[in-house]
Symmetry: C2
Subunit: 321 residues, 2 copies
């Protein structure tokens, strides 16, 4: 997705607990940000989205007519063509809700009477697809290809291939969390046993390291491992190997130039990257073929302090789907 189209845009990344919004200027640089709690249900989601967008416009003193569009990334299956949500269980939105239109109208109502009001086009995208676009953009590589591997509650990826979003025939591209990692292993809500998601996700870490509950499980685990706790080191190693497997699946299937690790677990930062790269290097040490693919150096973390998903959503807002 090129970013040489002029105009401001707003991007919203609506997650299960929080909504992040960002304003993208005509050069594609992210500016003001808003963070609001997400409340469940279509009415609440629409209200929060309109509030965030209106707030960003007011802060930058922009009229609606200066906005190319608004993009919304949300966890679920959406129809980018119609702006309808097909499936967004985590947000409490039923199938068939015309979310794009509802947000456009709610914002219009809110801006009524101000200068430059009028309906702004709103476009929907799956949140990981939006994040993949955002990650490519923030690398300065809008025409490149990469996978955004989200280690959150679950495990899945968004794919930008040759500069274009790759959604797949049924919007299921990147659903690698439901490949079998350990036959007969942990039960997965999808119905299978041993799904990769049960070993390489935030939920997997919480299950494997329930430990003292005053901090997030990934943080507690990595602190214990850094302190030399043998049990923590074992859990950390198993987790790193599962994440490395996800990276290998992405690289051996699509050979994207880069895999960018995001999602809540990625807030661990450098120590996470280090253990994942170590497992990739270990495998490369056993195989000249794998070594030739230089996987460790192709993996990176999503940038900190920038809402990658919201930036990607703002790029979606600039374009017809």
């Amino acid at each position: 997705m090129r970013t040489d189209d002029t105009g401001w845009s707003v991007g919203l990344d609506i997650g299960g607990t929080k909504t992040l919004a960002v304003l993208l200027d005509p050069t594609g640089a992210p500016g003001a940000q808003v963070r609001l709690p997400t409340e469940r249900g279509a009415d609440a989601v629409v209200d929060t989205a309109a509030t965030a967008a209106a707030d960003l416009l007011a802060r930058a003193d922009l009229g609606a007519d200066q906005l190319t569009g608004i993009g919304i990334g949300l966890p679920g299956i959406v129809d980018p063509g119609t702006g309808r949500v097909e499936h967004a269980v985590n947000l409490g939105i039923a199938a068939g809700v015309p979310l794009a239109d509802l947000v456009s109208r709610a914002l219009d109502g809110r801006l009524n009477g101000r200068r430059g009001s009028g309906p702004v086009p709103v476009r929907l995208e799956n949140d990981l697809n939006a994040a993949a676009l955002g990650a490519a953009h923030l690398r300065g590589d809008d025409d490149g290809d990469l996978a955004f591997l989200a280690l959150g509650t679950g495990l899945a990826a968004g794919l930008v291939l040759d500069g274009r979003l790759h959604r797949g025939a049924g919007g299921a591209a990147g659903e690698i969390g439901h490949l079998i990692y350990l036959p007969g292993g942990r039960p997965c809500p999808c119905g299978q046993h041993g799904c990769l998601e049960q070993y390489a996700s935030g939920s997997a870490l919480r299950a494997a390291w329930p430990g003292p509950g005053d901090r997030p499980a990934p943080v507690a685990l990595f602190e214990a491992a850094a302190a030399g706790d043998p049990a923590a080191l074992g859990v950390q190693q198993d987790f790193a190997e599962a994440v490395a497997t996800a990276v290998r699946v992405l690289l051996l299937t699509t050979d994207v130039a880069h895999v960018v690790i995001g999602g809540g677990v990625s807030e661990l930062g450098a120590p996470l990257l280090q253990v994942v790269r170590a497992r990739l290097d270990h495998a490369a040490g056993t195989s000249r073929f794998l070594a030739s693919m230089r996987m460790a150096e192709r993996v990176d973390l999503a940038p900190r302090g920038v809402p990658v998903g919201a930036v990607g959503a703002a790029l979606v807002g600039r374009k017809e789907p």
Copy 2:
């Protein structure tokens, strides 16, 4: 790849043992075919390619000036931009051989003095990429997306996504044969243990069912299984599960609309498709998510009696890379 470009083209699928050539008419329909044994080394490969192309032109009474181009699919890594081979061990061709130019010149020498002679552009492509284009074309779906899953000596796939060949950053897209299927399992020439290729390929079947040697291992195995041999049924089931895993990797990562199974093992025909679909249906029976993806009905066999790889190569011959 659209096929509304006018002009005839020749496609060559150069494999380790045989070279298949086909003439594609201006409407994109395959016509005359030639089959020659492949001999190792750049000189022999060039000679065979020129012979096959000259033969097809003579049979259709076409001059070189009526040919848009010649495409060559070969097992290895090629640079479609320069027409040089980077890596083609199975053909005995060293890196850096300008194969496209050599074939173009050899054909020109052979046609010298006949009507309409002059150098014909020759383009190279990896054989599985060419086969993926051919499979999409033969489905009448040049703008669609599919994976061509080759069960041959090894296991790998070619990908056509949204109507375009997806080679990957380093030409390694589709190399799913080197994902780990069974940790600590059979050694793979790549250096790892337990690669999927060691369980889902022609070589895997030969290793698992060395049996009476008067027919190919896949045929002998499937006949014994059809006759109710319990050992054969077990090997067949394990093989089908490994192939089903390859299909799931492709569908959950790229969500291509179709997976077309080709390669030598696919000559087993309907019984192969049946056991693979049965394993996919079995998994779908455990998971609503998998069931929603309707994997079994998205898998098919490459068409019989048409050289899919050569047809795809002829499409490559029509286009600038």
